[in-house]
Symmetry: C2
Subunit: 347 residues, 2 copies
């Protein structure tokens, strides 16, 4: 049997803020069968993750390109790897059977051919919507928030936590985890609507719209009169500088992402190193992939909290492979609220 | 009995590179006796430490001023606190006897009045020159190098270590500790003479004169073709940016001091946060005072290595209280080689 596979590609490398016209919907015939002896599998994609970090892989040159085993460069006209949930259509791998659900690295398209050795595993939905397994229970959002907060920040009850891009896929979860631990949590976001959501729906102690502030250093001083113990950084740039300037001794900055720097190669955070020395501040970059050791804890804790209603799964879902470019571009324009996901097909 | 105490002060706060004319030698009579019931002690200063960080305490405003229990602000016309070795002249404290040697926080002058509760302890020279107890066996250089390298950098044998200001009081020791552990060590310094010393006397694998380099990023790439695992940062600024750009995954930057930024408040290091995220780099500020737990290890290890000739004590000693301003100013002009100490008086 042969189908037509539609998938999203980039036309050329992207070195600035992405536009929809940077992308192209490609069409290719796909035979739904494998050579004898092949251990590949073919899956029908159901939900795919739309993450800001993918922009770094689309650049002409970026630090990700020197990483041979993680987050490889995306090549124009080729299918774009992404985290997601899919259903097995054909399997040459005895571990997977036709009709089974899988989660892992698939593609921004309707079907994915997953080579033997691909990062994919069977998925038991455990009664949750499949989209949850892309977002709140997935690696690029859920585990990133959990490992970054608990493993990198080493939080203690009562500590003062600041989260940037707090209504984003990762930030909203960090804030919710921090509240459940008993921290004081303030988030920043880019619209009134997002700020209201943080305070009213997600239990943040406070929140502000950074676009309404002129002097971020003073803003943070106002929201943290006793100083910041933990800054979960999703944006970089001036916000990081302002957070460091307001940090307490032994403060920790977990650098999860620096979205303000992704679209502007010249933009940099220049935190005051005298503060860093005298207040013994730690700035730590990390990737969720290094923290698979806490995966079981992350899953059981998070599933329990979702079931008991203590954690809210904030999702922003668009439909159809053709909506991927606008979904992705929207990440850099602040359009999404919570985890951005594209539903490629219904189960 | 009354003596004349000569001591160094600042005329006003210093907000740029210090000049000798910023300092003044003051003279005041000092009665060598205490009120009945006083627990103070009066000591005759023998050797005092001259450290770059003291400049931060001399500024109109600096991060150190917000630290209530450490490294307080220095006030014009008042005696300047400094680490050093002294001899007890008069004691109202039963722990100390006249004629005993002490080490701790004294002053840049001929005598110090140490209030009850002052940071001072008895000194057993253990056969070493007294100057060693100010430098290589002291807190501001020896323990800073030891704790910063072993506790903050967590080095492993074979790792690639870069040290800036490598012929300075702290840097030269970090390099020597790193070599003894079996690391590959490259240092940078500001003169040919210093570079030769690092390679020929201190056992560094390589060294370079940063003043002869135009593009520090390329320079470090040349010296570290396999990347840097540990950067012991004494200077901040562009050197930190270049080191981060050349770091391996899970690299560590111990920020001990940022001398290039002390004399220029607007100068900042702006390391690429994308490198920090993707290579999981940690930037950590620290102060030796937080690592008293390794003091016993530090002393026994370092004393053994000095005795066996495996570590060289690099000292740069000037004589007399009147030489303090030029000694201090020289730190920011690269005049010192190794630990800068002023000998106030012979034992």
């Amino acid at each position: 049997m042969e189908v037509t596979n539609r998938y999203t590609t980039i036309k050329t490398h992207i070195d600035a803020a992405p536009k929809e016209s940077d992308f192209e919907l490609m069409t290719a015939p796909l035979v739904l069968s494998l050579e004898p002896g092949s251990a590949d599998i073919i899956v029908k994609n159901l939900y795919v993750s739309i993450d800001p970090y993918q922009l770094n892989r689309m650049k002409t040159y970026s630090p990700t390109h020197t990483l041979s085993d993680y987050s490889l460069r995306i090549t124009p006209a080729q299918a774009i790897e992404a985290y997601g949930v899919a259903k097995v259509v054909v399997s040459g791998n005895p571990e997977f059977e036709k009709g089974e659900l899988v989660v892992g690295l698939i593609e921004w398209g309707e079907y994915s051919l997953i080579k033997s050795g691909g990062i994919i595993s069977k998925l038991d939905p455990m009664g949750f919507p499949l989209s949850h397994h892309v977002g709140i229970l997935g690696l690029t959002s859920g585990l990133t928030a959990y490992a970054g907060f608990f493993e990198i920040c080493k939080p203690k009850k009562g500590e003062k936590v600041f989260v940037s891009a707090a209504s984003g896929a990762v930030g909203n979860l960090v804030g919710q985890y921090a509240k459940l631990l008993g921290c004081y949590v303030v988030g920043c976001a880019g619209t009134k609507e997002k700020v209201a959501l943080l305070k009213e729906k997600l239990g943040f102690d406070d929140a502000f719209n950074y676009k309404e502030e002129n002097d971020l250093k003073s803003t943070l001083k106002r929201y943290f009169p006793e100083g910041i113990d933990i800054y979960y950084d999703n944006v970089g740039g001036e916000m990081q500088e302002a957070a460091v300037a307001n940090m307490n001794r032994f403060g920790r900055v977990a650098v999860c992402g620096v979205i303000s720097e992704y679209t502007d190669d010249g933009k940099r955070a220049a935190p005051d190193m005298l503060d860093i020395v005298y207040r013994r501040i730690r700035i730590q970059g990390f990737l969720a992939a290094d923290h698979i050791n806490v995966y079981a804890d992350f899953m059981s804790t998070t599933c329990d909290h979702i079931r008991s209603g203590k954690i809210l799964a904030l999702e922003d879902i668009s439909d159809g492979v053709e909506s991927i470019p606008s979904a992705f571009v929207g990440l850099f324009r602040g359009h999404n609220i919570g985890k951005k996901i594209v539903r490629i097909a219904e189960e």
